[in-house]
Amino acid sequence: MNSKIDPPVEHYRRIRENPRYIALARARSRLTWRLSILVLAGYFLFMGVAAVRPDLLHLPLYQGSHLSLGIPLATLLIVIAWLLTAWYVHRANTHFDRLSASIVKESQA
């Protein structure tokens, strides 16, 4: 970057050494990795069933229906993945951001 200001080195150091920052970083990373693994596991499970037991997705939704079980399942996969993003964004924008702002303020010289 050609117009880079000196990074606030001291401020960074104090934040880094703040135990609340360490807790925040840990909590956030635990949550984001869990959610990612959940979504990817759901997706690969779905793909796995489609590859190995396609007949399961092909069952009628209910007796006499012309919709198959796979259609609501695929839709649910998308809707649930989206709701999980909604939940994460809400949590990060309220809880984590508040925490982080207070840590930043607390660590100012």
């Binding site: 050609n2 920052y21 919709l67 998308i78 993003t85 964004v89």
Partner: protein
């Protein structure tokens, strides 16, 4: 069959022109409704550009709209970047032809978004400024890293631009009855006007307008198409099963999973390639802070998921409405080739349920979509040239903002002219391989380097360079040896590498090289690289020190 299906969908969703049969069918006469609506769209976007040009003063305005776009607006713009004209056309055609298989593909195209939200969104915004190279070079050696990142960005941008240009030319020829060369020139020149004068602000608003049009158009079409079924999905499914030649089997997984490794490789490339597309990544720098960045991916994934589901319904409705009406088939033969090529399903459906006026509207939306995507791509390419190559690598950070802006405008013109020239040159070439290549390189070169720079303390400059180059060249080599190039383009009888998409192999290879080289790196630079991580992490987590938004 299976690989045709694969190529059909991959191609279709990412704007590969699948109008092979269009070449055989004569161009339709001038479509006046479509041209009228398109001109209306163009005048509105030119007004937007004029307004944006008056606000675009600094480099930050030009690259990132001054960072003043709200999460909601940016969400629409991101969705617009991802929903290409061919999502509407290609995905609906996939469902029309194969039923449930289209659904399965659609989930793969969606699932990258939540991952992007969880793992990348806030770090992208907190660490980046104009290009994703800002993030990778945050603690690594600026010059070498930016050179690598610019190579990755420009390769992806050029491949994607070429795909879009050829797709645009063929689509417009078919829909509007205009000449191919003329169509490519119109797209190229309009895009130049948007980007050159309006920068990111105009590009974003063009993208937003197009996203709204696409969402509204798709929803309207779905409602019109569901009306004959009394808005009952059960009735629709019943009639679709009766109408389709494959009957009940369209409701379950079909032939596409016969080659699961190819599907896995493609899914991997799409999920992680998404996080390596420079024009998508650039969108994260247009919002003021991480909070808005998160919101924007949330809105974007909502719009994208919704739109994908709508398009799937369109596909099923088309099975009944278009699939049983001889007027949409060549020589009126039901079950034979569709008029205008296999990708025209959504357009025929529009005509069937909404008449010529609605068809014209949808054609105009499709054209607008291509235009907007091309503008975003060019801007991403130009910023890699001016911000990464010119300002850091050539001028070593001494270029003034005015100089950098001038270079980026020159880069826009060069990229625009190049896109037009290549678009015209490649009219008759089968460029399906570019889909695999674009996403292969994005997933194998850009994504691993970016991801490791954000998450792994041990990453060193040398590791990033070797890894990035490995990804670039292995993806390139595997695509050349794949069926789409080795057999289709070069005419050999048997492909050396049996899959169309390289990501399953090239991406893990890149990660392995990055880790191995970084671990063995004992240089002094490597020490600095590792040391810088802790400060980078503080900034990634808290956003302390990020560039703030200028006021508009």
């Amino acid at each position: 069959m299976k690989s045709t299906g694969l190529r059909l969908i991959a191609a279709a969703l990412f704007s590969q022109p699948l109008f092979a049969s269009a070449a055989d069918s004569p161009a339709q006469g001038l479509n006046l409704h479509a041209i009228g609506m398109f001109l209306l769209f163009v005048s509105i976007t030119l007004l937007i550009t004029w307004w944006a040009a008056r606000q675009t003063r600094s480099a930050s305005d030009f690259y990132t709209a001054g960072g003043g776009i709200s999460g909601w607006q940016n969400g629409l713009a991101i969705a617009g970047d991802y929903m290409s004209a061919s999502t509407l056309l290609g995905l609906s055609s996939m469902v029309f032809a194969k039923g449930y298989d289209g659904f399965i593909y659609m989930t793969g195209f969606f699932i990258g978004w939540p991952i992007l939200t969880f793992l990348m969104a806030e770090r992208l915004r907190n660490l980046g400024r104009y290009t994703f190279a800002d993030i990778v070079s945050f603690r690594l050696d600026q010059r070498r890293i930016r050179m690598l990142a610019a190579c990755g960005s420009l390769t992806v941008v050029c491949c994607y631009l070429l795909l879009q240009m050829v797709g645009a030319g063929q689509l417009v020829k078919l829909l509007f009855g205009l000449d191919y060369t003329l169509a490519v020139m119109v797209v190229g020149l309009l895009m130049l006007v948007y980007v050159l004068f309006g920068g990111m602000l105009a590009t974003t608003w063009v993208q937003i307008s197009k996203a709204v049009l696409l969402l509204v158009g798709g929803t309207l079409l779905m409602l019109l198409a569901l009306a004959p079924f009394g808005f009952s999905l059960e009735t629709l499914a019943n009639r679709a099963v009766q109408s389709h030649a494959d009957g009940w089997s369209i409701m379950g997984p079909g032939s596409m999973l016969a080659n699961p490794l190819n599907v896995a490789s493609m899914a991997l490339g799409l999920v992680f390639g998404l996080a390596g597309l420079p024009h998508i990544l650039m969108r994260f720098f247009t919002v003021p802070n991480a909070r808005e960045a998160r919101k924007s991916v949330f809105y974007a994934s909502g719009f994208i998921g919704y739109f994908f589901l709508v398009v799937c319904v369109l596909g099923f409705a088309a099975i009944v409405i278009v699939g049983t009406d001889p007027q949409y088939f060549v020589d009126g033969k039901l079950g034979g080739p569709l008029l205008g090529g296999s990708n025209m399903v959504a357009m025929h459906l529009a005509k069937a349920v909404g008449g010529n006026l609605f068809l014209g509207f949808l054609c105009a939306v499709a054209f607008a979509t291509i235009l907007a995507v091309v503008a975003g791509l060019t801007l991403a390419g130009a910023s890699a040239i001016s911000h990464d190559l010119y300002a850091t690598v050539i001028k070593r950070g001494t270029a003034s903002e005015a100089q950098e802006m001038r270079v980026s405008r020159i880069a826009v013109v060069i990229l625009g002219l190049l896109a037009m020239a290549l678009g015209i040159l490649f009219e008759q070439v089968n460029i399906a391989f570019l889909v695999g290549l674009t996403f292969g390189i994005a997933a194998s070169a850009n994504f691993p380097v970016l991801f490791m720079a954000m998450y792994w303390k041990g990453l060193t400059t040398r590791g990033a360079i070797y890894g990035g180059l490995t990804g670039l060249f292995s993806a390139l080599a595997l695509v050349i040896l794949s069926p789409t190039v080795w057999v289709t383009v070069l005419g050999h009888p048997q492909a050396i590498f049996p899959y169309d998409h390289p990501a399953l192999f090239s991406m893990p290879l890149t990660f392995a090289v990055i880790v191995l080289v970084s671990r063995l790196d004992r240089s002094t630079r490597a020490g600095q690289d590792r040391e810088g991580f802790d400060d980078q992490l503080v900034r990634a987590q808290t956003g302390v020190g990020i560039a703030t938004a200028s006021n508009h």
